[in-house]
Assembly symmetry: C2
Homo-oligomer: 332 residues x 2
């Protein structure tokens, strides 16, 4: 039996957004009608950045609004895309006269609504470019007519490097290009020991046996193709890492950015064990983890699980990653 | 049934510390023998700050090592005090010639071992001062002969303001004094919907009925005096806030620092709802939330619960809180 700290579940998203913005009065502002979280001070003379999607993945996306990352985040209901109208208003709010990059995780509803909004915003003379994030290796079927890979934790890296490029004064095409470069290079693998539970529900989205692990689970609780036996932290990490290494074809001397991401109720000790194994494995392979994040950044309500993201790094990406950022969830 | 991402549970703490330090190579270093996490670059010519306690409360304490906060964190086993020898070595490692402030949560084992270490470190001509953190209002029995209030999330504030004072060049007595001032003014209340589970165990520390909430739970899963009916987010927040307001005697025009702290598996949407209610209630009372933190900073493994900490603010505390800090878990 699961319970949530929630009022009317139908009010969850607007109430939570209000709580977020009240907690960051110097960074954020709220546009209630369309559930937009914006920077407190609108940026000037830079490419705008808008992202968004269903709620339940916090701190993504509203937690990444601020200097050096997003201008606007658009929130749908839990695990449901925002409407095209919301995205349109978000795109307008992000525009500072130099066009807007829309960062979109690859899910049918999100892609559709961002595309529609992008087209309509042309009526207001706002140029837009979509950067599609599709890093989830577990959904790589190789079928080009299919929905393609899902978008997961690489979104944080795309938002960060696009944000830095925009602050530096890059133009619309340049900001979109660097985001696409990250998206095309990044891959993620996830696993869950326990599904998340929708606020107000008492049962998780699915249940696993005592000896089972969902390998390749999605951030909306999408089931995976494989269910594998439970094992220890090192072996669980290997389950994520082996397919990533095979896919990315990294070689001795390469450098990567790694994200060890908790999916909701994984706690720091668990993430630190995954990070440890990752460091040992890549050190043995002669691959440098040049930058990393370890924490819960792209979640699935209270899912007990972890994802691992690797992004090959070069000098430009490292510089953009290291650039100053000031948001509720990422600051340096 | 609960499971953890863990190898041999007996190796959990050293492995997790290794993972933390590997993930922050520019900030942290590890002294394995005594399970000390230190700054990568030892600070010079300032009062040293050491804290520590049982593990399972991450990011406390090791996540707060870095410029502007701790010099050294000492880790015991899960929910078990570090030994006096560990604390002694941690105190030595924190010393830069101007004495060491030991920040100690009020638990019998911690207090005992830090006291012993403080006395022995005198043999090495290291002056020490203990700042005892005892903010947990649920354990305020008014009995001066008892163990007193437990130490919980106010520890973050004590570590932050002492850290800032030490960086500013304050002397040992001054750093200790400002920490004691925070500790004596801060109060915290906690509740849990579900207990945490020890890594390697399959059952949580205690179970609650569907309609029950543990009000006043401790960060080691200590049971509370009161078990109250489950209710919605606003009403749960009021259960925490009402006794805090009664105890602190805040008046219209006062300013506070507030921490809405997740105890492990509370997820951001839940914390944002608590923050929202808190802001509304204090706005109604004419009390300004001048600074706040909303996140999981002092946890109890994967406990599903939340704590609320209020600290009355004045100009000095606000300045010390705002001073730059660069640690894994707190950076600005």
């Amino acid at each position: 039996m699961r319970r949530s700290i929630v009022n009317d579940p139908g009010d969850l998203v607007p109430e939570a957004l209000e709580g977020l913005v009240l907690s960051h009065p110097r960074l954020l502002a709220l546009q209630e009608t369309h559930r937009l979280v914006t920077r407190r001070e609108r940026a000037r003379d830079k490419v705008g950045l808008v992202s968004g999607g269903g709620s339940g993945h916090e701190p993504l996306h509203a937690g990444f609004v601020g200097r050096g990352m997003l201008d606007v985040a658009v929130s749908g209901a839990v695990f449901a895309s925002p409407t095209a109208l919301q995205v349109l208003e978000g795109t307008k709010a992000a525009d500072a006269g130099r066009g807007v990059v829309q960062i979109v995780k690859n899910y049918t509803g999100d892609v559709l609504n961002f595309r529609i909004a992008g087209e309509i915003s042309g009526d207001d003379a706002i140029e837009t470019e979509i950067v599609l994030v599709d890093d989830d290796l577990a959904t790589d079927t190789g079928d080009e007519r299919g929905p393609g890979r899902r978008g997961t934790a690489a979104t944080v890296v795309v938002e960060k490097v696009c944000g830095a490029a925009a602050e530096e004064g890059a133009d619309l095409q340049q900001v979109a290009a660097v985001g696409r470069r990250v998206a095309s290079a990044a891959r993620t693998m996830s696993l869950a020991l326990e599904a998340g539970t929708h606020p107000g529900d008492s049962a998780p989205q699915f249940t696993l046996g005592e000896d089972e692990v969902e390998l390749g689970v999605g951030i909306h609780g999408e089931r995976a193709a494989r269910r594998v036996p439970f094992r220890d932290a090192d072996a669980l990490t290997d389950l994520l890492l082996d397919p990533l290494l095979a896919e990315l074809g990294l070689a001795r001397g390469d450098q990567v950015l790694a994200i060890v991401n908790g999916l909701g109720s994984a706690y720091p000790l668990e993430l630190q064990l995954v990070a440890r194994r990752l460091h040992h494995r890549l050190a043995d392979a002669g691959i440098a983890i040049d930058r990393s994040l370890v924490g819960s950044y792209v979640t699935s309500l209270d899912m007990h699980g972890v994802s691992l993201t690797l992004v090959p790094l070069d000098d430009e990406l490292r510089r953009l990653w290291d650039a100053p950022v000031r948001t509720p969830a990422l600051t340096w």
